[in-house]
Amino acid sequence: MNAIPTAEGAPSRSWTVRLRRRIQRTVPEGQWLPDRQPTYVRSWIYVFGVATLAALVCVLASGIILTIKGSAWWHVSSVGHFVNSLHLWSVELFFAFMVIHLWGKFFMAAWRGRRALTWITGAVAFVGSIGTAFTGYLTQSNFDSQWISTQAKDGLNSVGIGAFFNVLNPAQMLLWHIVLLPLIVGFLVVAHLILVRRHGVVPPIDALPPEAEAEPVADEAALRQPHEMLPHKMPQPQEIEKPGAVR
């Protein structure tokens, strides 16, 4: 029987110790909320990822209020109209920011440098968001949602999913919209953020030749220079794991 050691790095049977070490290995402490970024991050195109996240927070907050108050409230109350509109326009901005973020990352080839899973989780989250927005339109409980559902049913039936995804069933669409799809999208967004923090933001293409991506960063002192002087090269997480490392 092994005792729980106090020294870091020693084997442990404690699940909390093992979980803590797993978290530290996944995203080292200095990378969670970094206060420095490489100089190429000083561009507006890098803003749209966090703008998407901010819009998602507004979507979730307004959606929670709509869930608490119910459809009668958002149809007849002036405050309900406002929160309903807030929910709609948050979604519009969420998609606009996400698509611009997607364009930027596509033209940066953001899957470089072991970032394939970051790209994939973002792309799947985008597809999941489309489904969430679609079920949201079906949840409005007005003539618009009736029109959309009757138009959509033929298309969905033609691809064979109408049997278990019935857009004419408002209760099913409501639960998909407020429970199932938010859970899926939420999980993907969290995974996406963890991967972004783990691997860092992707450098511009001209700043990092492909053959240099696999090379380890030997000069840690260079990485500790002020961010204005940082080389256009992102270290991999296993190469720098000390707290406060410049990422």
Partner: protein, 63 residues
Amino acid sequence: MWPSVLFAASPLSGRSHYLHWGVIQISLTNFVIIVAMVVIFVLALVVPFPHGRSQDDERDSDR
């Protein structure tokens, strides 16, 4: 065309206008939104980002 674009973009326009290019059909409102997104994307690439605090400023504030 541009007066109709401006009209469609106004929130009080009750009518929907559609653009047709062969098999492609898109509402004028959606077209305006897509064009605006492309413009924002290009601006994000070319507009310089405002400079934040320098390292010296951070060191001074920490003291």
